[in-house]
């Protein structure tokens, strides 16, 4: 039932991944990386407030999973959500302007980093309570099954959320009712400052659905192609009416839990080793070059990404603060 996938994928062609797709992965991962770096910078400048959880290092997970989704599939995650939003095609300008708390943000400045949504892109948040997105995602899958529309929901959660009771309440219902949901556990090895082996009795999380008969698989989450391959199989499993499935993505965040976390609970060496040996973007870049892609083609992509991020940062600073009258709007809908 639960298998460990070999970390290194076979040749691109054998996976059926086109060159165009590879360039898109590269672009999307780079966009998240550069966006997050800029967000970190703007936080340091006092332009972004509150909690700000960066996705740097984990880009391959979202980009690989996103590439297997179809129009109408839904996505939900917790508060480390900027990558998921960019990955689902939301406008970097609207995301960054939400981080700065401006009118042009996705929530008009009322949600912030942890609470953003896009009905248009079927991105259902952006939830600030660890684990709470799991029953919600299960409910989104329930709605797909209720409507019989053949769509699935990808519910992301971290290794920190995996010990919340509501996760298992959800696993049970999803398995009981065969709901079309893929649970993607982003195991970045730390729930805030607590390493997984200090928090979990068993650290291989893909087993966690076993009691409910939910198949699970551990995946190299630093390799976008491995993510793609596992994601494709998992999405087909969920889409075909066989019920939920768990993917445990072995990944790593380079930054602290949030901007205010000095990350003293791990060594500098550990972080450097991951960055130099397992960086998902560097990994794909090397593979592309090996496959004959020219440096200039990659530079072109890098230039496009740089411009997008610069535009987003500018927009987020230029967009005005919300009108004071916005304080009172959107509490309730008109009945």
């Amino acid at each position: 039932m639960a298998v460990k996938r070999k970390p290194d994928p076979v040749k691109f062609a054998e996976l059926g991944v086109s060159a165009t797709a590879l360039f898109r992965y590269y672009r999307d991962m780079l966009l998240i990386r550069r966006f997050e770096e800029r967000a970190g910078q703007m936080y340091g400048m006092g332009l972004i407030g509150g909690f700000c959880h960066l996705y740097i290092g984990q880009e391959a997970v979202v980009v690989g999973i996103q590439s297997v989704l179809r129009e109408g599939d839904s996505i939900v995650t917790s508060y480390r959500d900027h990558g998921h939003m960019l990955g689902s095609g939301m406008d970097p300008k609207g995301v960054m302007a939400e981080l700065t708390g401006r009118r042009g943000g996705y929530s008009h400045g009322k949600g912030g980093s942890m609470h953003m949504f896009s009905r248009e892109k079927n991105f259902f948040g952006g939830h600030g309570i660890v684990g709470a997105q799991v029953p919600i995602g299960t409910g989104l899958a329930f709605a797909h099954r209720y409507r019989g529309n053949g769509r699935i929901c990808v519910t992301y959660l971290g290794d920190g959320a995996i010990n919340q009771g509501q996760v298992y309440e959800s696993f049970n219902m999803a398995a009981l009712w065969k709901l079309p949901v893929v649970y993607v556990i982003e195991n970045n090895r730390y729930g805030m400052g607590t390493s997984i082996d200090r928090a979990s009795a068993r650290t291989d999380l893909f087993h966690r659905g076993r009691a409910y008969g939910i198949p699970g698989e551990q995946v190299d989450g630093m390799n976008v192609l491995a993510v793609y391959e596992a994601g494709l199989a998992a999405s087909e499993h969920a889409r075909s009416g066989q019920g939920p499935i768990i993917l445990e993505m072995m990944t790593y965040r380079y930054r602290g839990h949030s901007m205010s976390d000095p990350a003293k609970y791990r060594t500098r060496d550990e972080v450097n080793r991951m960055r130099t040996e397992h960086d998902p973007i560097e990994h794909l870049r090397r593979r592309l070059l090996e496959d004959g892609t020219s440096e200039s083609r990659l530079k072109e992509i890098e230039g496009e990404v740089r411009n997008l991020v610069a535009e987003a940062a500018q927009f987020a600073q230029d967009s005005p603060e919300p009108d004071p009258a916005e304080l009172w709007t959107d509490v309730l809908a008109e009945a």
Binding site: Y106, G111, G139, H144
Partner: protein
């Protein structure tokens, strides 16, 4: 010596039942443990077993009889060797207590059928064709009508489908709508509440039934953090059209963990609507409004009200607007506000006060958020005195909120300080006498009204 078989109380709130079927006939020998009859209670069909050996000498209450009060002798069992004929002469069948209104809360005398008034006065504002039915039937009809009207409405909760509702509220819904739309959940409140929220985000209209609101504490995070706040946090993009409903407040002899009023807890939260009706018509009309509402609605019912009958309008389009209080009784000298079951006590208190020459105006708040301040303020401008009634604890309760509101809105109109009647500031005790002391009683309301009226 013959033994009387009494109508048993088979649930904490049962006051009467129906003899559905006799399984033994007169003259038949019975042994301890034999099933004598099937009784339909307010919640389920139960079996009555013999506790003694002997002969079923006489069936006092025939099969099919409804509204048989708890403790009514329903049969006689003759001891071994005892003459059946002698027993027949002694036995006199008491009439089933069908319409014996008595004012006290069943909580104080849980074993007596004579404690629950059966008839709630029809509400004046509904003039169209109406049918007399129980509150539980009114709730069921509201759900059924809305499910017929809108395919996205579905019911989710523990025992709502095959069991037909822990309190029989969802009776017949599974049969009409099938298991796709009437869904039994595992006992997993946090999980299925969150699942409901997710389904609502996706555009469905879930009705989430809590077996009682005591269990909704498990789901508080999903109700408050997910359901209530997401519209705001998304700048109006997201919608959460969901109803959380079930019995709230103090039941009968089930003690602290199963007896609590959550009205003020939910009413505290912006992004929620909170409804707590009393009459059958309001239960139906407000539940329909709640289901149609695009916002999360907390719909607080009351176990001790489920069995009350009153006239309920037939019109499936009749919806009672959320946010409007109802003047249940006009009066001149004192305003009494109440909601849910406490409306009944307030009405009885008003009758008592009448005898003392105090004319009380009773306001059935019906909705606690958004709160109908205007109706209360207008009443106080007339009466200049106010008593608030609730089952919940006094500290930071609905009465406390009303006290603050009166200070802000009606200070110059008050001739006496507001007086709160509330549940006592203790976890609810089990013992009958202590329970009665902890829960507001008619005499507490009467005393408070006299106090503010200085009479």
């Amino acid at each position: 010596m013959a033994t009387e078989v009494l109508m048993p109380a088979l649930s904490p709130t049962m006051t009467e039942g129906k003899i559905a079927r006799w399984l033994k006939t007169e003259g038949e020998p019975v042994r301890a443990g034999d099933v004598l009859a099937e009784i339909e209670t307010d919640k389920a069909t139960m079996e009555v077993e013999a506790v003694d050996e002997g002969v079923l000498a006489r069936i006092v209450i025939p099969e099919g009889t409804e509204h048989v009060a708890v403790n009514t002798p329903i049969a006689l069992i003759a001891g071994n060797g005892e003459e059946v004929g002698a027993i027949e002469r002694r036995a006199s069948a008491p009439k089933p207590a069908v319409e014996t209104p008595v004012l006290e809360a069943p909580a104080s005398q849980p074993s007596s059928a004579a404690t629950a008034p059966r008839r709630v006065p029809a509400v004046a504002e509904y003039t169209r064709k109406a049918t007399t039915m129980t509150v539980r039937e009114a709730l069921r009809d509201a759900m059924a009508e809305e499910m017929r009207r809108d395919e996205t409405v579905f019911l989710l909760g523990e025992e709502v489908a095959e069991y037909q509702g822990a309190y029989k509220v969802s009776q017949g819904l599974l049969q009409e709508f099938g298991p796709r739309r009437v869904i039994d959940t595992p006992i997993t409140e946090h999980g299925f509440s969150g699942l409901g929220v997710g389904a609502a985000f996706a555009g469905l209209r879930p009705i989430v039934e809590f077996m009682t609101f005591n269990f909704a504490m498990q789901a508080m995070d999903q109700i408050v953090n997910s359901a209530a706040k997401t519209r705001y946090m998304s700048g109006g993009q997201m919608s959460c059209p969901i109803v959380f409903r079930g019995p709230n407040g103090i039941a009968a002899r089930v003690a602290a963990q199963h007896s609590q009023c959550y009205a003020s807890w939910y009413a505290h939260v912006p992004g929620l609507k909170v409804v707590a009706p009393y009459t059958g018509a309001d239960h139906k009309g407000l539940l329909k409004a709640a289901i149609r509402d695009p916002n999360p609605v907390i719909f607080l019912e009351h176990e001790l009200v489920y069995g009350e009958s009153s006239a309920v309008p037939d019109d499936p389009e009749l919806v009672v607007p959320i946010g409007k209080a109802r003047i249940a009784r006009s009066g001149e000298h004192v305003t009494i506000t109440a909601f849910s079951r406490m409306v009944k006590l307030a009405m009885h208190a008003a009758e008592e006060l009448d005898k003392a020459g105090i004319s009380a105006e009773v306001i059935d708040l019906r909705t606690l958020r958004p709160f109908d301040i205007e109706t209360v303020v207008n009443s106080v401008k007339k009466t200049n005195r106010i008593v608030t009634v609730e089952e919940g604890w006094p500290f930071a309760g609905i009465g406390a909120e009303l006290a603050a509101t009166m200070m802000e809105e009606s200070f110059d109109w008050l001739d006496a300080p507001l007086k709160r009647v509330a549940g006592k500031d203790v976890p609810l005790p089990y013992a009958a006498n202590l329970e009665r002391l902890a829960v507001p009683q008619v005499e507490d309301i009467v005393a408070a009204a006299r106090e503010v009226a200085y009479r």
